[in-house]
Amino acid sequence: MLGALKKKRPLTAYGLFSKPEAAEKIFGGARHVHSSNLGAHDPLVQLTESGNGLGGEFRFPWELAAEARYVDVQSAEDRHRVLKDFLHGLGSEVHRTFKDVVGTVLEELISNAIYHGLRLENGERKFARLQKPRLQPSEYIKVGTVAAPDGVYLRVEDSGGRLGFDEIREAFHRCYQQGVDQIQQKECGAGLGLYMSFEQARHLRIDVWPGKKTVVSCWINRKRVPNEDNFSFNYFERT
């Protein structure tokens, strides 16, 4: 009984890690990785632990979902409109390198939702990357964004609910190993999107309601801050 409980308990890794080290932890089964010199005393670790008890029903401090401006993405073409509008909305005073980073991450998250999140009944990908699909009436992709003074919060929700933890484990492992198979030649994409997003973001969170919806959200710092090694990854599977 105790063994079964332990097996079900999502593993949290805490300590001071590099991103490749965090990827190894994730490959080892950790659904939550908190890199911080506070270790187990990091309030975020405690929040994650209590959040697990709530099925992930809580917000981290950087999550500004309530203040987010939401837009629907109806088609692949919409990606560019959403990106352009958001980056334009950041204003001309926001520096170019930061805009490039935010633009890259937001595009990858939306593309992931379109080309990986929405699938056929049998789990196969629906669309090739060069296709410009329109979503079916039963499908949706909702993009939430908040531009705060110290960073940007991005949230992409799709109606697929297909992003499994094992898929993320495999993707991070493949990408961080940087071997000959780092890039996939699949029609739906190169398999680098989540890796690129995790590399650029300070906090990445994935909530999956299997078969119902997936929410991928992240926080990107506007400028360099002390404790560059502080970051987190969280995967919550919810019912």
């Binding site: 390198t97 890259t104 595009e107 890039i183 030649q185 680098l192 690129m196 360099r224």
Partner: protein, 153 residues
């Protein structure tokens, strides 16, 4: 109007230089570069963004010209990021120069400094702090990890 991906070609001292500009994405094709048969330089200064499928297209291009003497120059931060994340993006190419972004902690002004790898190999350092041309304070610091811009060797 959004900038379009394009490749412009010139010749400098007997070497073909390919100027890549605009966003690199799933629709970007590098057929001009893939047809190269001698040493070449790729100038990335005009690249605005690159997504994961753009990275793949570029890597596939690099596979086709494997064996040629390839150099990259004027790599903006978006390209430098990929050089660090995806080893096959560079493959056997030599990086000649990169743009290092600086951010002023006083007034938030951004500027970029072109750094020649040859100079770094000779012992010259990437300045950790620069004077801001806007507010005049010595508050401009490298926006990112300095080590990622050292591409020599």
């Amino acid at each position: 109007m959004a900038a379009k991906f394009q490749i412009r070609t010139t010749e400098e001292n007997g070497t073909v230089v390919y100027y890549v500009s605009g966003p690199i994405d799933e629709e970007s094709r590098f057929s001009e570069i893939e047809q190269a048969h001698e040493r070449l330089i790729v100038d990335f200064r005009g690249v605005l963004t690159i997504n994961s499928c753009g990275v793949r297209n570029w890597v596939n291009c690099m596979k086709k010209i494997r064996g040629l003497e390839i150099s990259f120059r004027q790599c903006p931060p978006a390209i430098v990021k990929q050089l660090n994340l995806v080893p096959s993006f560079r493959a056997n190419a030599k990086v000649l120069s990169v743009y290092v972004p600086y951010l002023c902690f006083q007034c938030d002004h951004e500027s970029r400094l072109l750094v020649e790898m040859e100079d770094l190999a000779k012992g010259k350092e990437i300045p950790a702090v620069r004077k801001c041309e806007l507010c005049g304070q010595d508050e401009m610091e490298i926006d990112g990890d300095e080590s990622q811009f050292k591409m020599y060797g």
